[in-house]
Symmetry: C2
Subunit: 374 residues, 2 copies
Amino acid sequence: MKKISTILVSLLTVVGSMCYAQTSTTVIKEDFKPSSLNQPGKEYPMVNSQGYARFKVDAPQAQSIVVSLGLGGAKGGTPLAKAEDGSWMGTTAGPMDEGFHYYHLTIDGGVFNDPGALNYYGSTRWESGIEIPAQDQDFYALKDVPHGNVHQILFPSPSTKTSRRAFVYTPPTYGKDKNTRYPVLYLQHGWGEDETAWSNQGHANLIMDNLIAEGKIKPFIIVMTYGMTNEIKFGSGFRNFDFTQFQTVLVDELIPYVDANFATKADHQNRAMAGLSMGGMETKNITLSKPEVFSHYALLSGGTYAPDEIKDKSKVKLIFLSCGSKERPDGIKSSVEALKGAGFNAVSYISEGTAHEFQTWRRSLKELAPLLFK
Amino acid sequence: MKKISTILVSLLTVVGSMCYAQTSTTVIKEDFKPSSLNQPGKEYPMVNSQGYARFKVDAPQAQSIVVSLGLGGAKGGTPLAKAEDGSWMGTTAGPMDEGFHYYHLTIDGGVFNDPGALNYYGSTRWESGIEIPAQDQDFYALKDVPHGNVHQILFPSPSTKTSRRAFVYTPPTYGKDKNTRYPVLYLQHGWGEDETAWSNQGHANLIMDNLIAEGKIKPFIIVMTYGMTNEIKFGSGFRNFDFTQFQTVLVDELIPYVDANFATKADHQNRAMAGLSMGGMETKNITLSKPEVFSHYALLSGGTYAPDEIKDKSKVKLIFLSCGSKERPDGIKSSVEALKGAGFNAVSYISEGTAHEFQTWRRSLKELAPLLFK
C-alpha cells in the first residue's frame, strides 16, 4: 500500500511547506485506518502506519477549518481544504508521535470538537482525541484477561462543602478473598485534566489488568481524583499555586474515606502518590509536606526532588522520576543520580520518542507499577 | 428580575415568529443562569426560570449557526444571530420542557457540539446536553447522603468475541456486611444511547442514593450495559430488529458474571429488567422469551404487554408501564387496566408535562424502585 494520493499530497505540500520542510520529500503511505478513538461508526479521523493523521469534516458553507493538535504533534495546525464532495479534508504535514493526542478544530474562528472523535478532558475543556498506534500498544490493549473494576465514588468533602468524585481501580481479585487487603497508589492527572484522565486517556485500568495477568506486579488499588480544587487562583500562575486546599481534600478527606470503604492496607508503607505534570508538582509538595502519609513518590514529567528537600530519608521507600525523551531527560537522570548518591532508592525512566503527552505517562505507569510496595 | 432584554427579544421575535405563535406575546424573564450541565467555567448555554434556553457561540467568520434541540423541546431549531461582540447568540422561541435535552449546533451546514456544554451519548453520537431545572429536581440532586458506587466492569463475551463494558450501581451499604446479598435490576438505555446514559443523563445512582437515604426503598443493585449489539442491522428498521444477540450477551454472559462477582440474590424472584424506549422493546422481548430469568418487568416509554402475550402468569411479580403525558398515556393506562383485569400486578405511571425524554425516565425510575422486590 505505497500508492500516493498525488493530488491531495500536492495540495497539502503547498500549504504544509510553509511550516514543514519534510513534506516536500515524504511519501505518505495510503494505509489510513480510522483512529481507535473515533465515535462508533465514524471513519474519520484516520491514521496511517507512519503516524500521519487525516481529517474529514462536513461543513459545506464554512470559510476555513484548521486542526489544532496538541503538544508533541505537528505544530502550527493542519489547515483543511475543500474536497470535491463539499467536505473539508487534510492530512498532517508530518508524522505524529505515537500514542494519544488532544486536538480541536478551529472553524471560522471558533473552537469546536471533531464530530468524528471521542472527547477527553484536557486543557480545561473536553477536547477531541486521536490515537497514533504505538509499537508497544499491547501493554494497554483490552485483552481476554481478568479485568478489575473502576468504581466511581462520591466522597464527602467538608472542606469544599460538597461530595467529590473519585475513581478507584480495584484489581480482578479484589473482594474474592474477604481477608486480602491491598496497598494504594494515589494517581493524579495534569493541568486542565480531571479525574477521568488516567482511565480514559491513560488506560490505567488496562495497564494494571495486563501487568497482573502477566504476573509482573502484585495487585494494588489506584485512586484518582480531581486535583485542581482551587483552579480559580490559576490566573496568578503556577508558582503561586496553593496546594494546601487539595492536600486537605486528599489527605484529610479522600484517604480516610478510601481506607474506610475499601479493603486497603491503610498505612504509610502501603501508600504511594504519583502524578503527571501539574499532578507531579502536587505529588512533590504533598509528599514533602506529609512524609508520614506516603512512602513511594513518583513524578511523571512533573519535576524532580533534590536530596536536601527530604527531611527524613527513612520514610521514603522509592522515588521514581520519568519524562519523555523529547522533554528534559537529563534533568531527570541527574536528579536520580544525586538521590542515589544520597542513599535514596531512586529510579529514572525515559520514554523513547515521546513528549509531554499521555504515551509518556502510560509507559511511566507500566514501569512504576512493578517497583511499588515491594 | 422581569426586565426584558428588548433588543434581543425583538430580534428573535422576528426570526422566531415564523415558527412560534407564542413569541410575539411572551415576556422572557432575564433571570438566565448557566445550565447545570455546562463544561467547567462556561457561562453559556444559559436557562431561565421559564424554561427558555439562551446560547452563545464564538465563531466570528461563520455564515450561519442553528441550535437543534431534541424531542420535547422547541422544534425546528433556534437560529443564532450575530451579536455586537462578534459572537452568535439566540434564545429559544418558546420554553423547553423540564429536564434533560440533547442538542447540537449546525454551523455552516455541518453538525458540531456546543463547546460550552458537556456531552452525552444519544442519537448514536456524543451530543451536547442542557438541563432545564425541574420543579422536582431534588430527587436526583447530589446531596450530603451516603453514596453508592458506580463500577465500570469489563465482562467476557464469547458470543461477541470481546470484553464488553457495563456499569454496576451498588448501594451505600454494599460490602459493609459480608453476608448481605442484593436483588438486581438490569436497566437498559434507548436507541442511539449507550451504557453511560442511565448514570450520566439519568442520574440513576443519585436517584437510588436519595431514595435509600429517605428509607423509601430497600437497596438493590442496578446493572447497565450496551443494548445495540447488532446495530448494524438497524437499517432494516425496528420491526426486523433481532434481539437474540443482545439476549445472549445479557442472559448468558452478563448475568452469570454479575452473579459470580457481586453479592447478588441470584434467582428469578430477585431479578428485574427495565428499559426506556428501544430498551423497553428489548425488555419486553427478553422477559417474554426468558420468563424463568426475570420476575419484574418495566417498560419506560417502551410499549406495553397484552395479557395473552404472557404464558405463565405465576412467574410475573410486577409489570410497570410508564411514559410522559406528552406521549401516549392512554395506551399505557388501558394496557395496565387489561393486565390488572387478567390478574397481573400491574402499575402505570404518567410523567406530567414531559415527552419522550430523560425527565420521564428519571421520574419513572423513582416510581418503579419502591415497587421492586417486595
